[in-house]
Amino acid sequence: MKVKVWGARGSVPAPGPEMNRYGGNTSCVELELCGGSTLILDAGTGIRGLGVGFAAKLPTINILLTHLHLDHIQGLMFFAPCFRSESSITIWGPSSPEASLAARIGRYISAPLSPVEVRELPCDVSFLDTPATEWELGGARIRAESVTHRGPTLGYRITDSDGTTLTYISDHEPGLGAPLEEIGQEWISGYDLARSADLLIHDCQYTDEEYPDHVGWGHSRLSDTLTFARRTDARRVMLFHHDPLHTDDFLDTFLDTANGRWRALGGEPGQLTMASERLELEVSAPAPAPAPAGA
């Protein structure tokens, strides 16, 4: 599975010369599955850049939205394939008793916030609630489950046909009211989604020092992200959803701190990555243990 980050920022785009290396665009990750199909995770402003190069690619596009906060849907209206009649786009997202997914997204893609309405888009677009049970897209098995954030929010577990598993939980505060080091695993939000993932892409918006001013805002501090990753046995971890105040230099230092803490928790060097725009990773499941000789 190939992973490419198009937007790693949380909350609001944060462009500027001091943000150039990690990038200022909000959440969007492209997955190329081993069968050749593509899945897009979230449609923050990063999806605009993805759409530019997407012109000649497959006309069928699946976008999996974690939730409808603006930093996860703002790029939809600027995603070039939406403006092509040959595109067929399916947008998956959390259900709500209040209104359909189409109606809720339509509040953003409509006047006065938008110059176009959903029905005016030339592409064939459909909006689907994520199923309660695992389903299949492009040969991969997808599981969506609610996680602790503010408002209905999903995390995704994507298992490719070769067994590689990626977990994406962009906005998550599993440590809210729950001491993650000691609490039983059945009480940890997102545990089943993240268990033994080959790559866990996870919220790491705040330092431990910043967190006390943001308790209950729906995001993780570093120590909770790392403890969550250790408890769930993630093989690799990508720290994601950077705070808009965190500059390149700040994030460099933050990664050093994270690596130190990770080792102290028993993690191995090289397992942590700081998400940055256009970062590409090849993710694979561990090779199966060789069968015992003579068995």
């Binding site: 996680v147 009211g177 729950a178 939000s189």
Partner: protein
């Protein structure tokens, strides 16, 4: 053990922060958590309680009716209401493991999420107590 539904995880987090004695039950009505205030009232922490089947404790703790006889938890109006997906309010007496007795007013609220009922929260309001 599989992860609990998110709504029960959030309910546990919420109850943990309360000073009102409160219990969390699963969809079958079994106690899956109670907070420190409830532990104070019963004189046994949830961690200790959780290590034995509920029947072993209920004879000692109660609840008891006005006649002093134990009421099976399954027969409490609150339990029955929860199982039927309704809120309920009721009275009974409990005895802590230290032997002191408390008259309790109890309110039970079902936790219903998109997939149906996942459990319930039961709050205890001690109205009177007597030392052993």
């Amino acid at each position: 053990m599989d992860q609990r539904p998110l709504e029960l995880i959030l309910a546990r987090n919420f109850l943990t922060g309360l000073s009102t004695p409160a219990f969390l039950v699963d969809e079958g009505g079994s106690i899956i958590f109670y907070n420190e205030a409830a532990g104070d009232l019963l004189a046994i922490s949830f961690e200790e309680f959780g290590q034995k089947p509920a029947e072993e404790w209920s004879g000692a703790i109660g609840p008891f009716g006005a006649d002093g006889k134990p009421i099976p938890i399954e027969e409490l109006p609150t339990t029955q209401a929860l199982r039927a997906g309704r809120p309920a309010h009721g009275n009974f007496r409990i005895r802590s493991l230290k032997g002191d007795e408390h008259d309790i007013e109890s309110t039970a609220l079902p936790i219903v999420a998109e997939g149906g009922q996942e459990g319930g929260m039961i709050f205890f309001w001690p109205t009177a107590g007597r030392g052993a």
